[in-house]
Assembly symmetry: C2
Homo-oligomer: 423 residues x 2
């Protein structure tokens, strides 16, 4: 059995040793621990003096291969931006999805993310790329028909094909159903997708109440908010992962709480596209909802950096609530780790014996952590993701001393092919 | 004369060679340029293939040695936070100011800042630290009497002493007068400070309209806004550097424009302390005002990273204005470079022949710049400051390949002494 011993690593302010066996955190002990020969001989030993350990971060909403569209259309109105993206996306081919997804994984590892909830095209190809990079992921087949039901039978067949293929995916990559959004998918197709998810016990990933326009359109068409509309279709459940949730009334929050829907906050994207920023964190929390964090795709938010997402989320929340005490550091960490694990029903997100071995070593021997009165404050508010030194996912070292296997190859291949998008 | 040749560096999307002679950008030419032997023999040659060059960033408002207070009091109400800071600050001694300022300089170099406008205590000691690190700076004697005029004669004498000492500072570090804020300095002392600044042709650095409470108190006490109050005292001028400017009426903006006051936006600090976020960028710009950027001190905003300040400023502006076209990339760069240079009356802030040689080489051979459709978008929205590779200030290489001379010594010394703050 593969073993890793991480020695002298700071965990909640104390130096500890961590023994990983297989894909599990087997033992956390004081740093004087003496291991028997059988253990040490079979183990990779990481000397982590001057480093701290945190759980692998969980990015709860992204579109991986949109890395290829990083910066293509800046400083533009939302509708113009979206038209442009939708004009470019059909030019993506399998090779671009493959390398775009590997680039996304590279970027996520470099910034401490071990698990992500993906919603993009050519799922099977994306999963091949992710598996090669060693991250944990949720990968959806995406339903999007723009209310043109003529395509729906084809989409359903495609979904079934990908679902069948997913039987051969590794245990780290799981199939989910995505309904793009209530406004972009016809009611009948949403119902089919939801039924399919329920029958197969799958998570349902959806964009929900991202913009004010979506809210207004929904009231005009259905006399209901997007959340109310989903509820009327019987689609709300604890397995729904709702991305954005910017425009939510008291009644909407009650419905979300009643059905224990999981909330994904994507602050950088919401700010940059001017979709809205008054995310009702306090109300969600008070209603007992699980609030998680995501970066959205690189086309809108330009990177996949969860530490940045944490910082911006807190700063903006404190500002618009006119209260610096909202979204404190420990809650931010929970949003980026255990809350995501809970939403995805994964046994990771915290450094505890028996949990999945997904963790990140943080280099604290630099100016951003000096002085180090408050490690979490330094991590989230002072440092940037270049402090991420080593990443372990499912008991495997996927980045060591900031090096990821094959990273030069990824950059070379992306540079070779991105011109095919004809930007 | 010292010479640097930077070869094959990307400048506005084209590969160029840059010749620096002394402290001046002597020549920018195509990368096939052949230099004569006299030039090349005497020159340090930097091969910059795979790097781009930007002007050194200009941090227009900070309190350097507050690096020692990074993270000391998090998630707290503004008044509690401020009481705590003010309780701790008197414990600072000369050695702490020295190492705290060197830490600030280290952090600024690592994130691409070559010039900063400082407002803190024990100015002569701070300048010693800055000079050793090779940055360009404005350093103020700070007036702060909390409206207790019994101290004022002492403060004036101290100011004169520091001003006299400043005659021996190098050309890179200049003396300015700081009036902490209209609410924290008595009117008579402000007038004296302003007279002193005018007589000696010095910049006047002031906190202005940072919080709503300050605004309300000013109307109660003076029947005028803080800006109106300063104007009534005859203190507004093109040499005033006004930090924050969060709460500004149409009338205030008219007054600021009439006197060509320079505006410093400190978004991260304003957000984190919940001071306010509706910075009227468009109105300032339309009124012809010079708008610049700052980080504030590490006690409030935790780092001195101007790239982060640029990103957050744009994101928040787009969001609250409900318009993704406001604060476009080129204007963001200007705010962080030439606008600051203009405000400080320095001949830097752009990469042009004849300008001061203050520049930053950016490593673009990494995931954050892949693909590289839009360099500025990648720099500001995708990358973080770890892309800053080499920094030249006043024609001297002050950081090369991310190494700053003496950085280990700075961290060691800060760790040795920060405990004296008794946090």
């Amino acid at each position: 059995m593969k073993r890793i011993i991480i020695k002298n690593v700071l965990l909640d302010g104390e130096e500890k040793n961590i023994l990983i066996e297989g894909n599990i955190i087997k033992k956390i002990s004081c740093c004087e621990t003496v291991y028997d020969d059988t253990t040490t001989k079979a183990a990779k030993i990481i000397e982590a003096k001057g480093k701290a350990v945190i759980p692998g971060l969980i990015n709860m909403h992204t579109h991986s291969a949109m890395t290829l569209m990083r910066g293509i259309y800046e400083d533009a109105k939302l509708n113009e931006w979206l038209s442009y993206i939708w004009k470019v996306e059909p030019r993506l081919d399998e090779e671009m999805i493959y390398w775009g997804t590997r680039l996304a994984c590279l970027e996520m590892l470099k910034s401490g993310t071990t698990t992500f909830n993906d919603q993009y095209w050519m799922t099977d190809t994306a999963v091949k790329a992710i598996a090669e990079m060693g991250l944990r992921s949720m990968n959806s087949y995406v339903f999007l028909d723009m209310n043109d039901t003529s395509k729906d039978e084809y989409l359903k067949e495609e979904c079934l094909k990908v679902y069948e293929k997913s039987a051969s995916w590794s245990g780290l990559n799981k199939f989910t159903v995505a309904v793009h959004a209530p406004y972009s998918v016809s009611g009948s197709l949403m119902l089919w997708a939801n039924d399919f998810a329920v029958k197969n016990n799958l998570l349902l990933h959806i964009h929900l109440s991202e913009t004010a326009k979506e809210q207004e359109d929904s009231f005009r068409l259905h006399k209901l908010s997007p959340t109310g509309y989903l509820e009327s279709l019987g689609m709300l459940s604890p397995k729904v992962l709702a991305a954005h949730c910017v425009w939510m009334s008291e009644k909407d929050i009650e419905l979300l709480a009643l059905h224990d829907v999981k909330i994904v906050h994507n602050i950088n994207s919401n700010l940059k596209l001017a979709s809205g920023y008054k995310f009702k964190y306090k109300e969600f929390k008070d209603a007992g909802l699980t609030v998680t964090l995501g970066t959205d795709g690189c086309a809108s938010s330009n990177n996949l950096d969860m530490l940045e997402a944490m910082k911006t989320a807190a700063l903006v929340q404190k500002a618009w609530r006119e209260d610096p005490t909202v979204m404190p550091l420990n809650e931010l960490m929970d949003m980026a780790t255990v809350n995501g694990a809970k939403a995805l029903d994964l046994d990771c997100g915290s450094i505890e014996e028996g949990k999945l071995a997904d963790m990140v070593l943080i280099d604290i021997d630099n100016y951003a952590f000096t002085p180090n009165y408050n490690f979490l404050a330094n991590l989230i508010y002072s440092a940037n993701s270049s402090c991420v030194d080593t990443v372990i996912c499912n008991g495997d070292i996927v980045m060591e001393n900031r090096h990821v296997n094959g990273e030069e190859e990824i950059l070379e291949n992306v540079r070779r092919i991105y011109g095919r998008l004809n930007i």
